[in-house]
Subunit: 270 residues, 2 copies
């Protein structure tokens, strides 16, 4: 449930009527989002979230809201709150009919505070393989855009019994979990999909990419296939809100010790 | 410019504040749309638009609004208006954070009337090839869902000099124009991409598929490649609002007579 909501810096008189029907975020998914953890009054990894948002705006070709503006709005929705989830949505703005963006649109900013999810401290989780595939598109790969029907359909595949699902692209490469990146531990190395054709370059993924070499763990980004996942000695998934979660089960496969993920959790304090 | 707008059957007090920020259409592009021509007080091919909308809802797994409800709302936004464009957006509804659809959401309906585009009677147009590719996804192919960033980026590639752009998928197959389907005339046959991996099964495309055999023109849906387009004796594109438009130019290629498209335009009165 939303606790607080700002649309272009204003609290809407009625949150059920906050956005223009003509907003291109609604009409075409023409925008981006970020989801960050508020922890002890601080938004974790905020710089990285704002950097990715800015890169996404550049990729879609519209002006990014100023970081100072977003920081101020985040401060307002989180004022006197210690813990929660901050979601930022930025769209190209409202106006016009037709795919071509009209000139001079003013991007829409939505900054909202949600409650912390209940299962935040889980150390290990159970995965499944999703049937829904991800289409390939290098131009959209890495950014956290609003075209997320594939992820919606993937999560709608199951209701209980699993915490997450791994997704393949249409050529059968492993891309990500529905709402997380995935890492496998090889022979003294860490490997994660390279996201050249899809997936989101996650903020927690970035922390792991930076921290692992400092811990003596070389890390590579490269194509991964289901066999690489299923034959790994250790697997974990990463998400900016949920941190690093070890995979205890994938279908009928089981894992029960997580030394690399434990080391990263300790180092990153997540 | 929007003339009239209904959201769930109500005219919003302020169209700039019509939709919940939590609407899944905005958050994830989790919905569908239709764009139909209002002509002489009648919505052209309305049955086909409503059928495709219903099929899209089934594919995405949420209840379609009743056809009677939508017809009544269309009648209200078009009352006493002779000509225009009717746009319908249906989303899974508002609520929750996270890709998984919560149970029991109530779909959002937006019915809006726009002015008729100025260039409606153009018989022939000029095309270009777009650089932006379409990702492949059989589960989303054919329906007119709200995940349209690829089309937005494709139309943003050019500003003037061309009326439309042809799009390839990531494997190089021709799928469609940015906002139209494409047909090529072969040796006494008509061919259009089969849309097994992407594209929208257009309402005007459907009219052509039905009418062509009656006019002695066998028509097939099959994979098409750029060479098939560029070597064709005649090409046309179809769109529910703009009808059938012959291709006079594609890059440096030129065509100047359009017997098959003319025959179809006459037969279909478009």
């Amino acid at each position: 449930m939303t606790v607080t909501l700002l649309v272009n810096g204003q609290p809407p008189a009625d949150p059920a009527h906050a956005i223009a029907a003509e907003d291109r975020g609604l009409q075409y998914g023409d925008g981006l989002f970020e989801t960050a953890l508020l922890q002890g009054g601080q938004v974790r990894f905020l710089d990285d979230h704002l950097r990715r948002l800015q890169e996404g705006c550049e990729r879609l070709g519209f002006p990014a809201p100023g970081g100072d503006v977003l920081r101020a709005e985040i401060a307002r929705v989180t004022a006197s709150v210690r813990d929660g989830v901050v979601k930022i949505v930025v769209t190209r703005g409202a106006g016009g009919r037709g795919y071509r963006p009209a000139a001079g649109l003013r991007p829409t900013r939505i900054v909202a505070l949600y409650e912390t999810p209940p299962d935040l401290s889980a150390r290990s989780i159970s995965l499944r393989w999703c049937e829904t595939r991800l289409g390939r598109n290098a131009r959209l790969a890495g950014i956290k855009h609003l075209n997320r029907l594939e992820h919606v359909l993937a999560q709608a595949e199951w209701q209980g019994g699993f915490d997450e699902g791994l997704m393949l692209d249409t050529e059968g490469e492993v891309v990500c979990a529905t709402a997380a990146n995935v890492f496998v531990v090889g022979d003294h190395t860490l490997v994660t999909p390279d996201l050249r054709f899809g997936g989101v370059a996650g903020v927690m993924r970035r922390q792991v990419l930076r921290a692992a070499p400092r811990l003596g763990l070389p890390v590579t980004e490269e194509p991964l296939w289901p066999h690489d996942i299923e034959s790994a000695g250790e697997i974990f998934v990463t998400n900016a809100v949920r941190g690093i979660r070890s995979v205890a089960a994938l279908g009928t496969l089981r894992w029960d010790h997580y030394p690399v993920a434990d080391k990263l959790r300790t180092a990153l304090k997540v």
